[in-house]
Symmetry: C4
């Protein structure tokens, strides 16, 4: 005597998640405030005003890539799932909460560049998102959600990718203590971790 | 001689509702304003600035969970509906209006924490959303919208869940008069009310 | 030798339109600015602060209903269309532009209540949206977009409804010159116009 | 041993792209700030306040049309694609990043009208979006993404259209150096470029 939990429930949850990812990624722009200078401003002054926004532009680009990366991981994991399970709902909602929180962490870091606390705050936010992402990806690629026909290697790859995001985020947190302004470079270690984790099995074709 | 009102009309309404839920839940972040401090600020000052935002972070998290909860209830109720009825449209739009209003109520409460009027305002907003939610859920799980094959128990569960949200919100309103800062704790009574209401029948499998 | 213009193109346009409607309706909230008062503020002062926002709350509710009404009209018209036509694209995009502009017109009216220019500005915005809406609805319910099986009465009803929105908006514009603060009441004439226009044919069942 | 990359992956990417386009186009409005004048303001003063916003209104309209145009091109290109390829993902995400960035470039131009640097900044943003758009459209209309049944002429048209957007944007950049305030008029050259490029082959029917 169960409430119908068909693929439709899964589809609607995926749709809702996609929408939150898309909104959060696009909302990043509202933390960029356009300079407003008088009409006879010299070109060089305008350029200086833009130059002061470089940390904000970089923050926008990095967080855009980060949210995009989480969305791609979500995308990949749920493409292997064919059944809905209420177990994933709470974790997924928590993950979306961290994603929706990213514009704040980005604005805080960009407005206080070169400082340790904002850098740690940003990277810890990422780490928390990465841990929730790992949990969601694992749940989506486990029974009862997992598609019976999904290749085992694809499942392994999705999970290793999620683990490498966690390791990359942890690297960023560590860097934030030492070189706050460059902590986001820690994220560049993600492909390295992924390579290390998939050393022997290799990347599945088409991934 | 009727305008075609197929499942497609239902799908498009559900899609529109999902979008509003997703946007409202993600817009919560724009009420968080990142502190902007000079470059040589001491770490402890940054931490104090963040500490002052704790009510805002809590408000973000609670409202995120609240909107998520309403979305889940909507999700659950409409998964039992297979036919569109124009009767649900006005009520659903009113519910979405209250959901879209939540970021304001959240910002007002978070910016005026420990005060009675903002607490009552927030909890009454929730109560109104809960009442509209009850009406929408009842309509979606009644003829002519209800799926002919939906289990009676599932319908009963959806409705009791909606009633328990109303009772939990009413509890929060009552708390707001007494201990304004902790009124949102009243929402924690929702599972208790649900348990009381479903005492005998039990929760349907997989819900 | 034509580019494939299947129902899929129509679906994607409808989806895009729905998304813009949903975002515009939810963005209305960001024009509401929460008062922020010191912690020991008397309850009565908080209530006064809220009372000053009543025009903004009313503006939010009215514009929410207005955008909702345009969305419903769009919904209804496109439920009768089964084919895509590039002819509708430009008009539809212009309509979406006016809808996306509504939060500005709403904020301008709410922040300058009881004044003539903002009232006329708001109502003219509505009138322009209503005219574009009429054009879009007519195009969607004409060949080649119209579903061959759509009832003629349903088409007539959709178009009369769109005309009545134009007439109601024009009424609001006229009122704006006389009683600026209450111009939006002109919108309440929409059902009256609709009744007048459908006097003989009657409303189709299920509409 | 591949991760399943079905049309579903393509659909979800298209959905995500549509959502970002829709959010960015609607977010343009939040850069418009409603004037707030005292209640006894003369009508003429209100009109002057609105007149000062004309560059912002124009900026809103132009960027709305620009994002709409990019969305239509995306729409058209992906209607010819039936298979997903991971190759398009990074380019598409970069394109979406530029689209999401448009509200900032628009606000910067509108708030600093008649100045050279903001005009160049805006037009270069457009040019970068146009180049990414060209790359995405080419990828979507090449194997392995291209629908096997797509007409060759349709593919040619999509690509020429993307090239003409690049040429029109380059024209706008050139104009920005000379007549900053009117640089956006360069975009009006897009149909001219398109006509030149499709001189002999002609526009496909129904495009």
């Amino acid at each position: 005597m169960a409430i119908a939990k068909t693929d439709h429930a899964l589809e609607r949850m995926v749709f809702f998640s996609d929408a939150v990812f898309a909104i959060a990624i696009t909302l990043l722009v509202i933390e960029l405030h356009a300079p407003e200078l008088p009409r006879d401003t010299a070109d060089i002054v305008q350029i200086q005003a833009l130059a002061r926004l470089v940390p904000n532009f970089v923050g926008f680009a990095v967080s855009f890539a980060v949210i995009g990366m989480f969305w791609m991981g979500h995308h990949r994991a749920f493409s292997l799932a064919t059944h809905y399970s209420p177990r994933v709902l709470g974790w997924n909602l928590s993950l979306l909460g961290m994603i929706a929180f990213m514009p704040f962490a980005t604005a805080y870091l960009s407005s206080n560049i070169f400082q340790r606390v904002p850098a740690i705050f940003y990277c810890v936010t990422m780490l928390m998102a990465a841990l929730l992402n790992l949990k969601v990806n694992r749940t989506a690629t486990s029974p009862p959600m997992l598609d019976g026909n999904a290749s085992k290697q694809a499942v392994v790859y999705v999970r290793r990718r999620a683990v490498s995001v966690v390791l990359g985020s942890a690297t960023a947190v560590a860097l934030a203590f030492v070189v706050p302004a460059y902590c986001q470079l820690g994220l560049l270690s993600i492909p390295v971790w992924l390579r290390l984790l998939t050393w022997r099995s290799g990347r599945p074709a088409g991934a």
